[in-house]
């Protein structure tokens, strides 16, 4: 459905993307996550042919992104926080304008989405709040039942109530569609994404199914009979290793129930107890981001 192959993008001397590759399978809810400036929006702009890659290529609905035509765009819904709609038109006028461009526009669905998102028909787009504009963008992206929905930072700047309304509107219509969502609002993605790709400084750190990711990450606490010490050579799979009293805590990135005990003992010797806890996406992201930042600092040093 979506494939990025060795994408590079330079803005002057700044490299926004550095050989990014990933692929989002059909029917997935694929989350692109990363800190601000990681390259998520640049990637999406390239996928939508709003930007051209400096090198590499991207495919969307089986077509080179540079050759994206109205034929493909009729199947793609796009919602972005950086989306300029005609501010002088009212909500109703703009929907009236868009309707004829889509052969499969469903007026009943449009009415239902508008009701659900509580969009005032007579209000000018320029007079809408940021949250209302995001809902407006979603209302313009759903009624033609796209097979691919691309959401670029859709939750940015939304208050919790609007976020909930937005997500409800989205989830009710999601059905079979493939969703690509870029965000750093990980709490919202957690229950939605089926796949995740983590981008840092224009590079892909990993890409995998959400179930695999949450399955292999654990917050681990090892309790000793003696005061704990940070091992001089901690395994590479352990992130954010720290000692607190008799407890050594870290994030295990290759967790399996069967061999955790043995791996811990071989690294730190005898232990009294090992406790593990599943991690939410936010914690995984934080651990990975911190680790990436530390590694970059070490490289610079």
């Amino acid at each position: 459905m979506i494939r990025a192959d060795n994408l590079w993008k330079k803005f002057g001397r700044h490299e926004a993307l550095r050989g990014l590759s990933f692929s989002a399978p059909e029917g997935s809810a694929f989350a692109l996550i990363g800190a601000n400036g990681a390259g998520k929006t640049t990637t999406i702009k390239i996928l939508m042919n709003m930007l051209e890659p400096t090198r590499g290529r991207a495919e969307i609905l089986g077509v080179d992104s540079r050759r994206l035509s109205p034929r493909e765009l009729e199947w793609i819904g796009y919602v972005s926080e950086n989306q300029d709609m005609p501010t002088a038109l009212t909500v109703g006028q703009y929907l009236d304008y868009l309707r004829p461009f889509y052969s499969r526009w469903d007026r009943d669905l449009e009415a239902s989405v508008r009701r659900q998102l509580r969009l005032p028909s007579e209000r000018r787009i320029g007079d809408l709040s940021h949250g209302m504009r995001m809902k407006m963008a979603l209302a313009c992206a759903l009624p033609f039942r796209p097979t691919l929905l691309i959401l670029d930072e859709p939750f940015s700047g939304l208050d919790p109530l609007v976020r909930d309304e937005f997500m409800e509107g989205l989830l009710q219509q999601a059905g079979e569609m493939t969703v690509l969502i870029s965000s750093h609002e990980l709490g919202e993605i957690d229950g939605v994404a089926t796949h995740v790709a983590f981008i840092d400084e224009g590079q892909l750190l990993f890409e995998e199914a959400m179930s695999d990711l949450t399955g292999r990450f654990r917050e681990v606490q090892v309790t000793f009979d003696r005061p704990a010490a940070t091992p001089a050579q901690a395994p590479r799979d352990w992130l954010h290793v720290r000692a607190m009293g008799n407890v050594l805590a870290f994030v295990e990135t290759r967790f399996t129930e069967e061999d955790l005990g043995e791996r811990v003992r071989s690294a730190v010797g005898a232990v009294r107890r090992i406790d593990t806890q599943p991690m939410p996406l936010r914690s995984i992201f934080t651990a990975l981001a911190r680790s990436a930042r530390d590694a970059a600092e070490m490289r610079e040093a």
């Binding site: 702009k45 939508m48 042919n49 709003m50 930007l51 109205p70 034929r71 765009l73 009729e74 793609i76 796009y78 972005s80 950086n82 989306q83 300029d84 709609m85 005609p86 002088a88 038109l89 006028q93 304008y97 868009l98 004829p100 461009f101 889509y102 313009c140």
Partner: protein
């Protein structure tokens, strides 16, 4: 979807479009009100400001229409919509044609009809002018609009282009001191240069539109605009020879001037003003040297116009120096003249150049590019309160000037007018005539219509019959003016040809006008 996008733009911009249309209609109304001799100073003073506001408003409307779906940037919603680029481009062109050009076309049409011209000629004049304006003004502006995101960018960009072009033109003017630079533009052959500049502009417009609507490559499109602006300025300085060669191919009757010859005629002596007054030829910047010439082989009832001449001064040691002049020699021969015509070619020199060479003995070679115009029609109109409509002059009226020292003739005609004419006052009963005046700034273009400010052209003469100082006496004076008529003769170009004359060694100072 072209019409659908057009309707969206109309919904967003109808107020601006209406305001600009009102300005266009106001301009047409003023032109209609002024007609021939409309003398309201208030209306006359409004004409230029309203014209400027109309042009500026049209430009803003065109750019704003394009910017409703701006091309540069990556935030515009339309980029993610299944909108065909061709539809978008055509919708913008349609908007420009209907909302920006339409009211001007309508104003032009109403103006022609209000002056009593036929629907066909009014329609033809309005169509021709507005088609030219659409190609040479509207489309380039539309292309320029695609390079910008908002009006601030457009104004800054427009000013930058204009300032750069003006600087280059000023630099070239300084470099050439007005000699060869833009020389073709001051002649009837300006259409050749203008056609090339319009082609440059249209080509650049197409490239920019293709870059923007089909590739969204704003930087290359901006570079194209910059390069085209330079090429535009460069194309204004088309050299004379190729332009004249093109014009010669359009000669209506290439054989008619075959027998025309000219020669230096020193026997005529220095030029002396017939009035006996010492003419003040000398001013701070230039000096005029009238050289006596003899023309033979001219057919009857013709105007011979030197569109361009290159004067080469060759000193005794063989050094040559060229001076170029345009439109400074016009010979008329009517049916009553004998075979020869003698006249002076007043050559203008920059004072600095003249002072440097005036006392040197020099040989002179002059290369002339001539146009021979033959009489096309002749019309007589009562000198006082006359009014006449003719096919080729249009609608003409006469009246006294405010000091009652001259009779004014003004003709309005739809579209392109033949603009080489002579006129004189004639007393029908006695056959007396006042001196003939010429108004000959022809346009030799073979095109239907031309790029002009107004669909109705104005053309006229002021024919004096009384000298307020009392120094000159006219054969037809105030006492006979009531029984006189103005005879207007229209000439049309027949042949474009070159001649060279060689003048043996002379000193320029020997030929400056005497008293």
């Amino acid at each position: 979807m072209v019409w659908h996008i057009f309707k969206k733009d109309l919904g967003l911009m109808w107020r601006m479009a209406l305001a600009v249309a009102l300005v266009d209609f106001a301009l047409a109304a003023i032109l209609i009100k002024l007609a021939h001799f409309g003398s309201s100073p208030a209306l006359r003073s409004l004409l230029d400001p309203i014209r400027f506001v109309g042009i500026f408003g049209t430009a803003v409307l065109i750019v704003a229409a394009v910017q409703q779906d701006a091309i540069p940037g990556m935030r515009q919603d339309w980029l993610a919509r299944p909108i065909k680029r061709t539809d978008l481009l055509l919708s913008k062109m349609l908007f420009v044609a209907i909302m920006a050009r339409g009211p001007i076309f309508l104003g032009d049409l109403v103006e022609g009809l209000a002056f009593g011209f036929s629907i066909e000629s009014s329609l033809a004049a309005a169509t021709s002018r507005n088609l030219w304006m659409f190609l040479a003004f509207d489309l380039p502006l539309l292309a320029f609009g695609t390079l910008t995101r908002n009006l601030t960018e457009a104004v800054v960009g427009g000013l930058a282009i204009m300032l750069s072009a003006s600087s280059v033109i000023a630099m070239l003017n300084e470099l050439y001191r007005g000699a060869r630079w833009q020389e073709t533009l001051r002649t009837g052959m300006a259409w050749v240069t203008q056609s090339i500049t319009i082609l440059v502009v249209l080509l650049a417009t197409m490239i920019v539109l293709a870059f923007q609507y089909y590739r969204r490559k704003t930087m290359p499109a901006r570079w194209t605009t910059g390069a085209a602006s330079l090429l535009f300025v460069a194309s204004l300085s088309m050299p004379w020879r190729p332009v004249f060669a093109v014009q010669q191919r359009f000669s209506q009757n290439p054989a008619v001037a075959r027998s025309v010859t000219l020669a230096f005629e020193p026997g005529m002596g220095r030029f002396r003003d017939p009035s006996g007054l010492r003419r003040s030829d000398r001013n701070e910047s230039e000096m005029i040297v009238p050289l006596p010439l003899r023309f033979s082989g001219l057919p009857d009832n013709v105007v011979l116009k030197a569109d361009h001449s290159t004067v080469r001064l060759i000193s005794v040691d063989g050094r040559a120096e060229d001076f170029t002049t345009v439109n400074d020699l016009e010979i008329r021969k009517d049916g009553s003249a004998d075979g020869l015509v003698r006249d002076y070619h007043s050559i203008r020199f920059v004072a600095e150049d003249y002072n440097r060479i005036k006392d040197q003995r020099v040989r002179i070679e002059i290369d002339y590019s001539f146009t021979l115009l033959t009489l096309a029609s002749s019309h007589g109109i009562p000198a006082v309160h006359g009014e006449q409509r003719t096919g080729d002059l249009g609608w003409c009226k006469t009246r006294f000037n405010s000091a009652r020292t001259a009779v004014q003739l003004l003709c309005l005609a739809p579209g392109k007018m033949r603009n080489c004419a002579t006129a004189f006052l004639e007393h029908a009963a006695s056959g007396r005539r006042n001196p003939e005046l010429s108004n000959c700034s022809p346009d030799y273009s073979p095109y239907w219509g031309q790029l002009q400010m107004d669909a109705v052209t104005r053309f006229g003469f002021g024919l004096p019959f009384r000298d307020p100082a009392g120094l000159a006496r006219y054969p037809i004076d105030g006492s006979k003016i009531g029984e006189s008529q103005i005879v207007v003769r229209l000439y049309k170009p027949q042949d474009h040809f070159t001649r060279r004359i060689m003048i043996p060694e002379i000193r320029l100072s020997d030929w400056v006008a005497g008293n």
